[in-house]
């Protein structure tokens, strides 16, 4: 395994990973009206982490991201379920969402929806589940 030269891949990854992470955030934010949302934003995030796995190894990435991904999955599902139950408290159906307009200091009048919280949960669940599967398969010889 020694002596293989992948300088080009290592150098390109330092730029490409930043681009993919920014693109995943863009996909996450642009949901609801354009192609995007929590699921595909989480998958783009996973693609960036997988690229880091490819150029480096699992141990190095796991040491730098000190999070157990199974807990991330559980946290995401919990956020999604609690967001859905929040609509039932006011007598509305499950997963009911509220859209309101808030006057923020810098941005001015901004429309905000509670569906974003649900999307945060979906993104965390997708990130945790995909990375758990990839790490479990990759560690098996």
């Amino acid at each position: 395994m020694k002596g293989l030269n992948d300088v080009i891949l290592r150098t390109a990854t330092k730029v490409v990973v930043v681009i993919i992470l920014a693109f995943s955030i863009h996909l996450f934010v642009s949901g609801h009206h354009n192609p995007g949302g929590g699921f595909i934003g989480g998958l783009a995030f996973v693609a960036a982490i997988v690229l880091l796995f490819l150029v480096s190894d699992i141990e190095k990435v796991r040491n730098n991201i000190a999070v157990d991904f199974k807990n991330v999955t559980a946290l995401g599902v919990l956020i999604s379920v609690f967001t859905g139950v929040g609509g039932m408290i006011g007598g509305k159906p499950f997963l009911n969402q509220v859209f309101g307009s808030v006057n923020l200091p810098i941005f001015g009048e901004t429309g905000m929806a509670t569906g974003v919280l649900f999307d945060v949960g979906v993104a965390l669940a997708v990130i945790g589940a995909s990375l758990t599967i990839i790490i479990s398969i990759g560690e098996d010889r």
Binding site: M1, K2, L9, L27, G36, A47, L54, D57, E59, E139
Partner: protein, 94 residues
């Protein structure tokens, strides 16, 4: 006229994808199959771009970037599998 040309190019792209799928199935060695997969990704990007021009919409540009990123990572993973036999290393030897 321009719409007819775009529609014709979409038809040719579909035909090209079918021919590439033949190479993907029949290809004797693994590198040919990997190259066929990469070429199918490029054809999909071209198809989405031509369709965006056809319906005069900019809504699908994120799809082009996403297919490009996934095709890039897939090609790297297959190349690493052919070269080293393992895709993701648990602990680097050097």
């Amino acid at each position: 006229m321009i719409q007819f040309i775009l529609f014709l190019s979409l038809c040719f792209l579909t035909f090209s994808i079918l021919v590439t799928i033949f190479r993907l199935i029949k290809g004797p060695t693994a590198p040919e199959r990997v190259q066929a997969l990469d070429v199918i990704g490029i054809y999909l990007i071209a198809g989405v771009a031509i369709y965006s021009v056809l319906i005069r919409s900019t809504a699908f540009f994120e799809v082009i970037l996403l297919i490009g990123i996934l095709s890039f990572i897939g090609t790297i993973a297959f190349a690493r599998f052919i070269e080293r036999g393992v895709v993701i290393e648990r602990k680097q030897s050097d």
